[in-house]
Symmetry: C2
Subunit: 473 residues, 2 copies
Amino acid sequence: MKELKKLYNKIIQRANINLREIKIDTAAYIQNLIPLSQLLKFYAFYGVSPNHPLNFHFRHSNLSGSYFLGKCKVTDSLLYKSDIRGDELKKKGETFQYKEFNIPINKDEGIYIEGSFLAKTLVHNFSHDPETPEMFYVRDTISLPYANIHGSPTNGGFLGPFSTIDLTTIHDCIIGTFSYLQVGEVSHLNIPPGTVWIRSPDEFNFLYRHPTDQLNDYIYYAQGTSPQGRFIDFIEDRKEAFQVVFDKLNLEQPIPVPDSASLDRYAVAKCQTNICENVLVAQRAFLQNAWLGEGSNAQENCYIINSRLEGFNVTAHGAKIIEADLGYNVFVGFNSFLRGRPDGRLTIGNDSIILPHTIIDARKPLNIPEGQIVWGMITSKDDLKVNSLPIEDFQKIESSYSSGNMFYEGDGNSFITAFRDRIHHILEANGAFFDGSKHRGHAQKNQKISFNTIQPYPEGDLEGLYPTIIIRP
Amino acid sequence: MKELKKLYNKIIQRANINLREIKIDTAAYIQNLIPLSQLLKFYAFYGVSPNHPLNFHFRHSNLSGSYFLGKCKVTDSLLYKSDIRGDELKKKGETFQYKEFNIPINKDEGIYIEGSFLAKTLVHNFSHDPETPEMFYVRDTISLPYANIHGSPTNGGFLGPFSTIDLTTIHDCIIGTFSYLQVGEVSHLNIPPGTVWIRSPDEFNFLYRHPTDQLNDYIYYAQGTSPQGRFIDFIEDRKEAFQVVFDKLNLEQPIPVPDSASLDRYAVAKCQTNICENVLVAQRAFLQNAWLGEGSNAQENCYIINSRLEGFNVTAHGAKIIEADLGYNVFVGFNSFLRGRPDGRLTIGNDSIILPHTIIDARKPLNIPEGQIVWGMITSKDDLKVNSLPIEDFQKIESSYSSGNMFYEGDGNSFITAFRDRIHHILEANGAFFDGSKHRGHAQKNQKISFNTIQPYPEGDLEGLYPTIIIRP
């Protein structure tokens, strides 16, 4: 493992150099997190399908357990059980609209990961940065389990566990545990844990901070430890089910799937799960006694257990929904944790928006009415009052609003419009509106994918490194 | 499968053009042999190991179920369950000795397969043709199940089932079913089935022809049919055991293997099998109640059942040994079929040479003494008398010899010397003489190989074709 160790040290040094102003020694944080021997244990996978133009280029990297679709170049990096989806990138000839700019795309966009260590991280979608529209890069970055790098070019980042950067460009920043940033472009920031920050410069600015004590019960991470808390326990308890689907080369579909829907072969779908038309279930999604109504999607690393989602529901990357009934068009953002109880279910009315990184965990029945926008930490009806608003009231905010730990500046309507546009786009991209011929999305395009497995050198100086692998159409 | 069909037709046309003087329509022979839909069912594999310098390049081909090691380039070809081993090629800087020529090797040799359809064919070893020492090519060639292309560049060949070309260069030739050629260089020949022809120009010329009626019971193949006979039945009966080893991603070693030996994870090793020091068992070898003494090797597609091999035994590609006891240093050549009976075992004494494509199938006990050279079709003691000689008698042949269907010209000693040199080389390459530090061969180098799986496009115009795949160190 000589070369693998050298690479690991090089990545740490590069991250430290990038983050030198914030003064962090990333080694102290990650050294016990994933022993290098662990990087030899798992196959990586890449998908081959006519619906996903191919361009894989893996060099001098370890890709243990990772999953690739589309166009990705990985160099000098360690990607441990990461999901890298380059199946939704911009294409040559398209125009990327960014505010008043219509930017012509000169070549197919690619995901470029270099000098980075991503653990159980989801990298997805296209780069939303207008400055490098053909290049979605992740460089000199370390990210920890269940982080999401979503359309967010990143240079010199340290992303804590369950953190998300979304439509954000990062230069030399630390993103704290369970923090969510959707803020355009930032540099040299050290974002504390549990921050939810959504900003569109000159339009709106939403800021929430989870109460530290409460958050620590769900997820806590400090130098020299492993991430711990209810999120970790919850995932660990369900880990074994994934082993079965990753161990087998050929797998029968465990439940019926309509012709217009798709259930990824690396998802877990347990008993009593029902998949309706135009549903997408992505890899590493976990479904157990789940009803997914028409046009719903269950994205990577999400868990839906003993729950019913009526239709056109988005369950974003890493979201968890347990003992809950969700109406139509309910959006549940990244890494949200929504837990009802068998004797106290959680219900959410139609058209509600659960902002990313929301925790709803009441021991008593909780009803969220139709058309509500919800954020933050909610363990009771009182919390709900503080951390939600009817969407139509939110739209009326003229210049600022504050409630509990939440601060909002700007025009409420543009915030809601931005979210609604995005939800519509997500449903569309995932194939929710497929009518049998038009509006095909991932649900229809991902039905048949060949997955090829890749492994590293099994011994010698290069042990743990993958050979150079180039896959083209 | 549009592109796949086009490719299939193109390969047939190219083969027909090359073979136009012999007037064969290869399509008539192969059209029902392997339905194109079959080409979508099986993963291909390539090995990654520090002991096998990598250079794979697969383009516009189907590789269904095939196995690759080392340096291989495949273009515009269909390789169905073939074994392509580029792990024993010449290396840059070496010298290739051919008679009085010392040929410097200017770049690493590669296997280049282009415009060919190889079914269950073994392609192995380095090119023995001094004219293209850096290029072992197989072009515009069709080969049928259990053919071997061994160190034999081939341009425009039609190789029947169970045929072997070995240290031979072929231009526009038909090699009949179960024929074996080791003849240097030939062109525009139509070799009838059951021919065993071993020639070293100006040195010796060995020719045997199997009696057609008897051979047809073992293997028969005609236009429009599938190959049939005892060989096929024998293999079909044991097919299922391979399914298990190919279906699983991770497999425990089924029997103990000494540190100095290796059992390929795509071999079948059934109960009561014993593997001694320095033994090599290659992929697709089948062992059942087999004793493999020190330094023995069991090569691809061989079967060893209820048999004991004392040590330093070579069981070449495709050879079958059933209910037999073999002494030390017994060589069993390509595709030989050696069958004793539980109540009438076959015994072969030390240092005997069973020439390639020999059939020994006696219903009564048969003892082949020490130091015997054996060829042809043997179903009784009488046959054995006709089709064998003590090696020391063979060495005394001065200019010619004939017995039954066998004709020999030349000096007997050089024939024996050539074979003994080769047997020694095979044992050496396979690691039979490993002493714990020196003389490492395949048995030691193949212990740890990562196998990566590859599959074709699952649908669309490209259905059945593999993407372009390039693997480098």
